[in-house]
Every structure is written in structure tokens, then in C-alpha cells.
């Protein structure tokens, strides 16, 4: 049985919007990464520091952190090992579930965070937020919201 249908190609407007979106993402990632380099941090490092610093007791379970930062457990494990060696975080056993581990933000990690955050925020402003009007930013957010919801609902499906 035939299930093929004519492909629904993108219209010019759609294609243009799509390509811009992809391009912005790649270039933006590149710039933000570059602006963090002087501090010897990657965006992944920074993201993890943010999550930890916003968590109760400055700690998170490995699995939760992996889910929150959208990466595999394996990748996170290697990543945390590196950050541990750099003194930014430390592993700590979990009493209630002895399979589990916490990643805990160290004093050093917190200081690094506080030192770097202003620069990173400035970078986000310079390359993104400050380049569009508050109204446009709001429109952008409104447009992305349904997409974010859809994608969240797709996480780890077939």
C-alpha cells in the first residue's frame, strides 16, 4: 500500500524564517562560548553552575541534573568529573538512595559563578536581548512557547 504524499515544502517565508533561526542559534552559541572562554568555562559548565546555584542546598542528583541540562547520564558523569577536578563541584553520597549521588556546588564554584555571571549576562544582552525591542522579545517568546511545549512533550519518545 502506498503511503507517500507530495512533500509539503516550506514556503519562501517559512524557509527564510527557519534558516535564520538555525543560523542565529549556531552563531549565538559560538559567541557565548567564546565570551566564556577567558574564564575557562564552557556553556555546559556554566549551565550546570546555574542549576546548582539555584537548587536547594546547592546540590542536585545526577539524574535530575542530566535531565535539567538535557544531556545523557554518561556525558554528565564525565563532565562532572572534569568540573570536580577543576574544584567547581564535588560528589556526595545520597543517604536516602544509596545508588544515588549529589553534585554539590563548592565554595570555589560559587565564587566562580558570581564572578562570571555579570559577564555572561552582558554577553547575552550584547548578542541577543539588547538587539531587539522589548515588544519583539515578547513576540519571540510567545512564538517559541508552543514549540517549547511540544518539544518537551516529545522528550525521549520512539
Amino acid at each position: 500500500m502506498e503511503t507517500e504524499t507530495a512533500p509539503q515544502w516550506l514556503t519562501d517565508e517559512e524557509q527564510c524564517a527557519w534558516r535564520t533561526h538555525v543560523e542565529v542559534n549556531r552563531m549565538l552559541t559560538y559567541q557565548l562560548e567564546k565570551d566564556l572562554q577567558p574564564f575557562n568555562l564552557t556553556m555546559n559548565d556554566y549551565d550546570i553552575l546555574v542549576h546548582l546555584s539555584e537548587s536547594e542546598d546547592l546540590r542536585m542528583r545526577m539524574s535530575d541534573l542530566a535531565a535539567a541540562t538535557l544531556q545523557s547520564k554518561s556525558r554528565l558523569s564525565h563532565q562532572i568529573t572534569r568540573m570536580e577536578n577543576a574544584g567547581l563541584v564535588r560528589r556526595e553520597n545520597c543517604e536516602s538512595d544509596r545508588r544515588g549521588l549529589y553534585t554539590v556546588l563548592t565554595e570555589d564554584g560559587m565564587e566562580t559563578m558570581q564572578k562570571v555571571a555579570p559577564h555572561h549576562v552582558a554577553s547575552v544582552r550584547r548578542h541577543f536581548v539588547d538587539l531587539v525591542s522589548p515588544e519583539a522579545l515578547c513576540e519571540l517568546h510567545k512564538a517559541l512557547t508552543p514549540i517549547a511545549e511540544h518539544l518537551r512533550s516529545q522528550r525521549g519518545k520512539p
Copy 2:
């Protein structure tokens, strides 16, 4: 002399828009990548096939292709080696500049492209384009345009 100024933190709206943007990008990349996997292609592969198929004589210089796909020459060189082994492209000497090489789309590469494109477009629709109204997509595009321009102007600066 003191050059520090109070950090311009993001407002709640700004932060929310920003985080959504980052999140969408990561999840979207993940989904598109996943939808290409059954065809044994990565987005990088696909992107290169698109660029080549849209070029005159189905060929591009390495440097131009690297610039177009926003990756380092080194990375592209490895990437093309892999794609060459997969039979999708082939390297060809450049007559007018004997330092140079062309990456040329092969017959196989073209067929792969034509086979995969409808699926990829469907994927882009499913996870992005079709989730927002044409008006919202247009707003999105309008909001991103100045950002894209800014970032293009930053390419390879200090």
C-alpha cells in the same frame, strides 16, 4: 581605576524569553538529529548536502563550504573525509588555484538528498513551522533578523 558597573541583570521577561530560546534550540536540535538518524545522516551531513546541491555544478570550495556551514576548516576536512567514505561526496582538484579543492556532490549523494529531504522538511514542520501561525513565524523572523545581522558582523573578531 575602577571600571566595574552594576551588572544589568535580565528582567523576568527577558530571562524567560532567553531561557525558552536556549531550551528550544537544544531540544529542536535533538529532535531533528533523531529524525535524520534512520537515514544515517547527521544535521551536519544534511546541511552540507543542501549547500552542495544548491551550488553551481554541485560543487564548492572547502573554505567556502566551511564558512557557509559555520565550522572550522579542520572539522570540515574530517567531515568530508567521512562523507567521502560514505560515497556522498568526492574531492576534486581545483584548476585555477592548485592549493584548492572542490567538494563535489556524487550521484549517490544527490539521490540520498532527494530521498531524505521530504522527511527532513516534514520534521521541521512537525517540530517547528507548523506549531506557530504564519503571523507568529513572521514576527519570529523579524525579531531574529537584527540579531542575525549583528552576529554575522561579529564573525571571527577579537
